[in-house]
């Protein structure tokens, strides 16, 4: 008798429109509930971005410094305190095939003061080190001001100061006439070094030439450490034989290290913080999701008459569910996109402050938005089902 009914239909464009109704009519509430998700996503994107940016900075730094620098030091032997390396340690190390360069550092038993009036003992933590002339080459160091020691100046009472030492001795720029009171003698400051990334000990040292140390400071020049540049492909092999080569009699008294390991360890420690902050971001995201669920539940209760009206206009239960689920997704998506932008902004700001290049991994951006949508879907599910199950007569009667 009756012809077929044309099923109710809602175009996908209209799904988006109806999902936006709640946001349009309750703007502040929508903004606040999206804010929760936004903070969570921003935290996660920011943390991932910062960790990635700092990592890329580290890689660039390692690239510049090279990971093939090794240090051989007199370590604490058994019950002997700080031992010594044999005088010929550097020569023996240099005979290892893949070793490209060696330089020795020998700690001098002397102190350096700004002038001869400074009370003894107020050393400012500055040490005096006798060094080879190829130190700068081996360490890829650079000068802030002045010149480094050379064949000529190394034989005279001249010194080059590490960056921290120069600061503590009050030397901002090198005039060539500045003197420091070093081991009861006046030494002329000829240069100031830039900071060493891999050998911070040298930042706090006054460097003198081996010859000058012997002549003026009565130093025996027995090396306290030998710094080695090895063929990058054989770094591990060289490391394995360094101790035995530097001190064949007591290899256990020798400490061999790769300074870049320290940087990598620092990065690993940063990674632990990254995980912690990611966890906190996750908690913020969860709280944001609960906020959206809360707002949606309230919204469903408040908008009973709208639900009743839509059922009267021909909406199926599914249409109502899709509308409210869509609204939760839209809120979460706004929060997610806002969070990604905020996180990116924070990363860019902080990275440029630290002089890093900004690097936000695409996975963080895609993952951030995906996580927001997932949270939105979960948060919107219950309110959507509740709205759909509402009987149209109840919904209309309640108004």
């Amino acid at each position: 008798m009756a012809t077929m009914l044309t099923p109710s239909r809602l175009h996908s464009a209209d799904v988006a429109r109806t999902a936006g109704v709640g946001l349009r009519t309750r703007k502040l509430r929508a903004a606040l509930s999206a804010l929760g998700i936004m903070i969570g996503i921003a935290a996660m994107v920011g943390v991932l971005g910062l960790s990635e940016s700092s990592k890329s900075d580290l890689l660039a730094q390692l690239d510049k410094l090279g990971t093939n620098l090794l240090t051989v030091q007199a370590g604490g032997g058994i019950g002997l305190g700080s031992g010594q390396l044999p005088a010929e340690a550097a020569e023996m190390v240099a005979r290892i095939g893949p070793v490209e360069q060696t330089t020795t550092v020998s700690e001098v038993d002397a102190n350096v003061y700004k002038n001869d009036l400074v009370p003894l003992g107020q050393t400012g933590g500055i040490t005096v080190q006798a060094v080879d002339l190829n130190l700068m080459d081996t360490l890829a160091g650079s000068l802030d001001d002045g010149v480094f020691l050379n064949e000529a100046s190394a034989a005279y009472p001249t010194t080059v100061l590490g960056s921290v030492a120069a600061e503590r001795l009050g030397i901002a720029e090198v005039t060539g006439t500045q003197l420091v009171w070093l081991g009861d003698q006046w030494f002329t400051v000829v240069g100031v070094l830039d900071q060493f990334d891999l050998n911070p000990d040298l930042d706090r040292a006054a460097l003198v030439g081996m010859v000058a140390a012997e002549t003026y400071l009565d130093h025996d020049n027995v090396p306290t450490s030998v710094l080695v540049r090895a063929d990058p492909d054989f770094v591990d092999d060289v490391m394995n034989v360094l101790a035995a080569t530097a001190n064949p009699e007591n290899p256990e008294e020798v400490e061999v290290a790769r300074p870049t390991d320290a940087l990598e360890a620092r990065e690993a420690a940063d990674d632990a913080f990254t995980a912690l902050f990611l966890g906190l971001g996750g908690v913020a995201l969860l709280v944001g999701g609960v906020g959206i669920a809360n707002v949606m539940v309230i919204s469903v209760l408040e908008r009973r008459s709208e639900i009743g009206l839509r059922r009267a206009l021909g909406a199926t239960k599914r249409h109502v569910a899709v509308q409210f689920l869509g609204e939760a997704l839209l809120l979460a998506a706004i929060g997610g996109v806002g969070g990604v932008l905020l996180g990116y902004g924070v990363t860019t700001g902080y990275a440029s402050l630290r002089g890093w290049s900004t690097l936000v991994p695409p996975i963080a951006i895609a993952g951030g938005i995906a996580a927001a949508l997932l949270i939105g879907a979960i948060a919107g599910l219950y309110p959507a089902v509740r709205a759909a199950r509402m009987s149209p007569t109840e919904a209309l009667r309640s108004s």
Partner: protein
């Protein structure tokens, strides 16, 4: 343009052209004590009729509206709307029936704030599968019909009460439904505006719309050609007023 919306799939029942048929409809609510909201209600509404269902509060008017509008199912009895037996239809089918064959007007208007009069009326066709452009085009024509052609772009919630009810009426009529059910359409309006709305309903009926107005006000019911009196869930009288 409206021609495509007058559904020729709405069949005539037998020799009669009944748009709505209620046969021995009862509705009981299983509360304690149980409420017998409708008891054996039987009547037809023919195509083109203007009928008032009148009764005091508690007489079962709202329940009757919901059952006529397929928003609720009767406990027993038979309801047929536009040739479709409600008992044969699933929930989805009922939604489909409402989207194309039944229009609703509510006392509280139920307009969406922040949306224009045009979009509120266009929403009357939201679930028909028509495109937004078509819906708006038809909505504009319908708003013109109810005398709001100059208010298309206005925020619906900023219109006067009478204008808002006109928007709601336009929304109910926009699909050219077989029947329009109006629940106390003048309940929230002052007497002057109320008269204007009654006049509008009469005009719309004159141009072919089948309209059932539910009211507690016998005065309004007396304006309409036919009045069905409801008391305690049963039909008390069903009379022609001799107007029109």
């Amino acid at each position: 343009m409206t021609a495509i919306l007058v559904h020729d799939d709405a069949p005539a029942t037998g020799g009669h052209d009944a748009v709505l048929t209620l046969n021995a409809v009862t509705k009981h609510y299983p509360t304690t004590p149980p409420v017998r909201a409708l008891q054996g209600v039987t009547f037809d509404v023919q195509r083109g009729e203007l009928v008032a269902v009148v009764g005091p509060s508690g007489s079962g008017k709202s329940t009757l509206l919901h059952i006529m509008g397929t928003l609720d199912r009767p406990t027993s009895g038979e309801v047929t709307v536009a040739g479709h037996r409600v008992s044969d239809l699933s929930d989805r089918d009922l939604s489909a029936l409402r989207s194309r064959h039944i229009g609703f007007v509510f006392q509280q208007f139920f307009l969406l704030s922040g949306y224009t009069a045009l979009d509120n009326v266009a929403d009357g066709l939201l679930y028909t599968g028509m495109t937004l452009a078509t819906r708006r085009e038809l909505a504009a024509i319908e708003l013109e019909r109810v005398g709001l052609g100059h208010r298309l772009g206005h925020d619906a919630m900023k219109l006067s009460g009478g204008e808002r009810q006109r928007v709601a009426i336009a929304r109910a009529l926009v699909g050219g439904p077989d029947i329009v059910l109006a629940d106390e359409p003048t309940g929230n309006l002052d007497s002057k505006t109320s008269d204007a709305i009654v006049a509008l309903i009469e005009d719309l009926n004159d141009s072919g719309s089948t309209i059932v107005v539910i009211t507690h006000n016998p005065e309004i019911a007396s304006h309409f050609p036919r009045a069905i009196g409801l008391r305690d869930g049963a039909v008390e009288y069903d009379k022609l007023n001799g107007v029109h």
